[in-house]
């Protein structure tokens, strides 16, 4: 059922998103160049601090994605009108969030290997991020089940809101748990970095770059989801039309 209509734009882009995309690419390039070559190595951590320029923004955006999914799901549940649209935003944000959470975990792990010699530390932030990651994988799995957009919206919104309840509980539990092991962890995850002006600026650019990328990703994935739903319903409509035509001719 892929009819190619003549008045179709080629993609889900509009002028606004193209500008956004360019901004994201420019900022990212600056961050990579600055992070790798322009900024100085840290006195304590030497060059491994460079990983922070991608790890920290990635973590922030991962949490931003989580909050976005939570808010969008909340609105989707409360408002009857437009609830499907907000559910799509929630889903898109979760997909992007999982990407950034994975980046956060991997870069954090690599940084840890360089700084402490271990790939993993059971500190609250990393552990909570890991739990958040699994929660979101589960959320995306639920969304993928065969269901009408309405059912999917209802089920995943409830799941997302439960996640908003659950994640602070998990975080608090892990914080309490790790505080009992105080003697073992002398270093904190931030590694006591004294940031000078250029490093701070690069970090800030990183947050901007990742935010722009986040927005671009979410907008496009949300539109793709909308197209998917449209195709589903128009497919149903076409099938109905055919069925009625059959019924008439019989």
């Amino acid at each position: 059922m892929t009819t190619i209509t003549t008045n179709s734009s080629r993609s889900t882009g509009t002028r606004a998103t193209r500008v956004l995309g360019v901004v994201a690419i420019v900022l990212m390039t600056w961050v990579v160049v600055s992070g790798l070559f322009v900024t100085p190595a840290d006195a304590v951590q030497l060059d491994s601090v460079r990983i922070m320029y991608v790890h920290v923004p990635s973590a922030w955006i991962a949490y931003l994605a989580f909050i976005t999914t939570g808010i969008a799901s909340g609105i989707s549940v409360v408002r009857r009108h437009r609830s499907l649209g907000f559910d799509r935003v929630a889903g898109a944000s979760a997909e992007v969030g999982v990407l950034f959470m994975a980046i956060t975990l991997v870069t954090g792990s690599l940084w840890g290997r360089l700084t402490w010699g271990t790939f993993w530390q059971w500190d609250p932030r990393l552990t909570t991020t890991a739990f958040l990651f699994v929660t979101y994988v589960g959320y995306l799995a639920i969304r993928r089940l065969d269901a009408t957009p309405q059912q999917r919206a209802r089920r995943s919104s409830i799941l997302a809101l439960l996640a908003v309840l659950e994640i602070p509980l998990v975080h608090f539990s892990v914080v309490l748990w790790r505080s009992l092991h105080q003697e073992a962890s002398v270093l904190n995850t931030d590694g006591d970095v004294r940031l000078d002006g250029l490093m701070l600026f690069t970090l800030f650019s990183g947050v901007l770059a990742f935010s722009a990328a986040f927005a671009w990703f979410v907008i496009h994935r949300q539109r793709v989801a909308a197209l998917d739903d449209l195709r589903l319903t128009s497919g149903l409509d076409a099938a109905l039309v055919e069925r009625r035509a059959e019924a008439v001719t019989q």
Binding site: A141, L161, E166, L169, F172
Partner: protein, 227 residues
């Protein structure tokens, strides 16, 4: 609403008593897991030290089985649809099912704690009994509440068997951490002292309250979405 919840509770407990699945299948499975842990770890001091964690991990694994059963029973004869047509209040349904599940899990925890005493050489001082019982009750409540809630979320879907463990794992982490630390203290280990143990019990209580409310509120809308 209380009558409906009580009726649902009685139904679930009766179904369980008649089939005796918990007694004849889940409990042996759980005890076997305790034994296997001991064999795999192969060190009595280590097993003794890990006893609390092993009990609650085993409870968690077994809970998955019990939750699946609890909803399978509904699905098989379309019972959930009947309940929905009768206009059963979602919150009442949630409370009834959760209560039945909690009772079953509590029975399981008791057996496992006894197993730890027998198999792992755990010694429980009488003074720690209150702590132990409270932890067992609240831990079972926590697992039962989220088990019912998430079990309802995936019930009727095609991948429920693989989805439920995935979804439950992050949610049950606070229960696992809290119950284990508190139980460790009751077992007389010197890792967790009594005051901290009661702080963990407090966390468990908060968890139970939050998810009891969340579950009661979400169960109605959740069932509606399955039409």
């Amino acid at each position: 609403m209380r009558r409906t919840a009580a009726a649902v509770f009685r139904k679930d407990v009766l179904v369980e008593l008649r089939s005796r699945a918990l007694l004849t299948r889940v409990v042996p499975f759980a005890v076997l897991v305790l034994v296997l842990f001991a064999i795999a770890l192969d060190s009595e001091p280590l097993v003794l030290r890990a006893g609390a964690g092993l009990v609650w991990m085993t409870t968690l694994f077994s809970a998955l089985v019990v939750v699946q059963r609890s909803f399978e029973v509904e699905r098989r004869d379309g019972a959930l649809d009947v309940l929905k047509t009768l206009g059963v209040d979602g919150a009442a349904l949630f409370v009834g099912k959760a209560a039945a599940l909690i009772v079953q899990l509590l029975a399981l925890v008791v057996v496992l704690l006894a197993g730890a005493v027998v198999l792992y050489g755990v010694n429980v001082e009488p003074s720690a009994l209150v702590l132990l019982v409270t932890t067992a009750v609240l831990g079972s409540c926590g697992l039962g509440l989220v088990g019912t809630l998430y079990g309802g979320l995936v019930s009727g879907t095609s991948s429920r068997d693989t989805l439920l463990p995935l979804l439950l794992m992050p949610v049950t982490a606070p229960v696992l951490i809290g119950a284990t630390r508190a139980t460790e203290s009751a077992f007389g280990g010197d890792v967790t002292d009594a005051t901290t143990a009661w702080a963990w019990v407090g966390l468990l209580a908060v968890f139970c309250v939050l998810f009891a409310v969340a579950g009661a509120m979400s169960f109605g809308p959740l069932l509606d979405s399955d039409s």
